[in-house]
């Protein structure tokens, strides 16, 4: 990083009805629907709309249409079982009712369709393959008249008179600070990760920025104890000279290529995709170390379609996305089915919303991007409606300049710590499989102690040499907060369920944990809040344990 003094540019302030943060599936649908509902919209994106976050890599899209005889009840049962009774069935209904319509819209905007009718092994739900969606959604967003701020990272929400009235951010190249004053703000900023970089799954631009901003503005965040299940290649740390092969269940092989790749997946350039998988994981030779006794394939047929092999679901471990929760689990805790948060003026959608559409496990491919589109559209409309009735936010210019100054702090420090170094310490604390994937109280407490120290000692003393470094500094701070959330939620859930596995509590505990665990700011720091699952979504208590939970956790016999 350069040691040249940074020239701070003047704050540029924009006024709008709805601010959308993020330009993936959720953000683009939110922005377009807000415009259709009559709002003026500004969209701020850390990268390019349609090309950043997780969106560029998704291509299977869940639909409930032309299901070849599979009933709605079968679909619903899939979510109930794979979600292990933590799925929010209102969001499941929204997905089932609205995803096909969103697919038709994406197609009308220019997305192409690959395979039209396929089922993922082990699921009953139908997916359609979509290609080039990202660029099509961006074009539609621009054509709708949305004002786009690309390569602008939003760092904090502005709170005034008990509500969120917009956000501040800066341009990644010029460093220009922006304030966007908005009647309503929709966070579509995607999920979290601890930047696994080239480890296999392209999720490193997702750093829990939305969760961190919302939490600091008073919102509840939930779903943090679960894990994304996309597998890398687990290997025994002790194995000698293990050989590397592309696993046929690797995320890239299943997920396909970026939207720029031509044609549907079957015709994609396999060498190019393979190269990415190979080189992404080859550096480790042995893949990711894990005690082999934890490599378990549940192999349950529950919810499976006749004639198709059962796939691993619910409890399959994931190692390619450390720091990321099960799709649709983590994020702002919703107050309603439109993604409103507990803070007036603030909505969230997609991977930034804890919709719990998939509960504690993943219900099948396509649910995630389609869910983001569906939830984005809902939040965009709701935010537009709210903004139309809300007083235009008025804030003294001095107050805005103060928020912006805080944002730029790492640039103006003469001394400070390197964000990359702090990130490395965070990764080394959180990445080992025995912290996040195979959990246990004492190990999580030790990690929490280390994360707490990193937060107290370094998070507010990070130094940036240029605007890129400023981005990395904010991401580091946000990832540290996410680490604390994951550990506190993991500690609070003293049971195993779906993608959350506790070695010291290897069974489901329906008495205590048919609830969502939210994290919020308390007087003395972070507190956990339990929200009970509504009675009608709970399993029939008369059912035997194995009937409720066909997937078996290691060590379960000890507590049954």
């Amino acid at each position: 990083m350069s040691s040249r003094p940074i020239r701070l540019l003047d704050l540029e302030t924009l006024h709008t009805d709805v601010l959308v943060v993020g330009g993936g599936y959720a953000g683009c649908f939110a922005a377009v629907k807000a415009v259709e509902a009559g709002a003026d919209v500004v969209m701020a994106v850390k990268g390019r709309a349609g090309r950043s976050g997780l969106t560029p890599w998704a291509n299977s899209w869940f639909v409930f249409a032309d299901t070849r005889g599979v009933s709605r009840e079968d679909y619903v049962r899939q979510f109930v079982l794979s979600g292990e009774y933590l799925a929010n069935m209102d969001f499941v209904d929204a997905l089932i009712d609205e995803s096909y319509q969103r697919y038709l819209e994406a197609s009308a905007w220019g997305a192409r369709t690959g395979r039209e009718h396929y089922y993922q092994p082990g699921t009953v739900t139908r997916s359609i393959e979509v290609v080039d969606v990202g660029d099509a959604m961006r074009q539609k967003t621009v054509a709708s008249g949305v004002r786009l701020l690309e390569r602008v990272m939003i760092t904090s929400l502005i709170r005034h008179d008990q509500r969120v009235v917009g956000a501040v951010g800066f341009h990644l190249e010029s460093g220009r600070p922006y304030a966007v004053l908005a009647g309503a703000t929709v966070l579509c900023s995607g999920p979290a990760s601890f930047k696994p970089l080239g480890m296999s799954y392209a999720c490193s631009s997702a750093t829990a920025d939305g969760d961190a901003m919302a939490y600091r503005a008073g919102a509840e965040i939930s779903g943090k104890e679960f894990n994304d299940g996309h597998p890398a290649r687990p290997a025994n740390a002790l194995a000698e000279a293990p050989t590397f092969e592309v696993p046929d269940h690797a995320a890239f092989v299943l997920g396909g290529g970026p939207p720029s790749a031509s044609g549907p997946v079957a015709e994609l350039d396999a060498a190019r995709l393979g190269m990415r998988t190979m080189s992404a994981m080859g550096v480790h030779d042995g893949g990711l170390p894990i005690d082999p006794k934890y490599i378990f394939t549940p192999g349950s047929k529950a919810g499976g379609r006749d004639g198709e092999p059962p796939g691993p679901f619910a409890a399959a471990p994931g190692y390619s996305t450390p720091g990321m929760s099960n799709h649709k689990a983590e994020g702002v805790f919703p107050k309603d089915t439109y993604g409103a948060s507990n803070v007036p003026g603030l909505w969230a959608a997609g991977d930034a919303l804890s919709s719990m559409q998939n509960g504690a496990g993943y219900a099948g491919f396509g649910c995630s991007c389609a869910g983001s589109a569906v939830q984005g559209a809902r939040a965009g409309r709701a935010a537009a409606e709210y903004a139309a009735g809300a007083a235009a936010p008025a804030l003294p210019e001095g107050a805005l300049r103060e928020v912006a100054r805080e944002m730029l702090d790492p640039l103006t420090r003469t001394r400070g710590y390197s964000p990359a170094w702090v990130t490395r310490l965070l990764q080394d604390t959180m990445f080992p499989y025995y912290v996040m994937y195979v959990k246990e109280r004492r190990r999580m407490e030790l990690a929490l102690g280390q994360i707490a120290y990193l937060q107290e000692k370094y998070a507010l003393e990070l130094k940036a040499g240029d605007p890129h470094g400023l981005r990395v500094a904010h991401e580091t701070r946000n990832m540290l907060l996410n680490a604390e959330m994951k550990l506190r939620a993991g500690l609070a859930r003293e049971e195993s369920r779906g993608t959350h596995y506790r070695e010291d509590f290897p069974c489901r505990d329906d008495e205590r944990f048919l609830c969502w665990i939210a994290l919020a700011q308390g007087d003395g720091g972070m507190v956990t809040v339990k929200h009970d699952i509504p009675a009608e979504w709970r399993p029939d208590p008369a059912l035997a344990y194995r009937e409720k939970y066909p997937v078996e956790f290691p060590g379960e016999a000890s507590c049954l």
């Binding site: 890599w57 930047k195 392209a202 970026p258 720029s260 990415r276």
Partner: protein, 72 residues
């Protein structure tokens, strides 16, 4: 591993790779009209810069950050 090189001899300065990189690894040298790898250490090897119309971008193993301790 990260992005390894941008071939300046063929780069036409169109800036597509800069726009497509989700991590802000590549910058455009506006005077020379060439793309430059500015923050190699942050590359996540996603391959979106391979959309280069001149095929000037090369990704390969051997560059980048050392092993993460936690992952062996």
């Amino acid at each position: 591993m990260t992005i390894a090189a941008i071939d300046e001899a063929v780069c036409n300065g169109c800036g597509i790779c800069v726009k497509h990189c989700p991590i802000d690894v590549i910058r455009l040298d506006r005077e020379r009209k060439k793309a430059v790898i500015a923050y190699r250490e942050d590359c996540m090897l996603c391959g979106q810069c391979l959309d280069c119309p001149e095929d000037a971008v090369r990704l390969e193993p051997g560059w980048g950050r050392a092993y993460l301790l936690g992952w062996g």
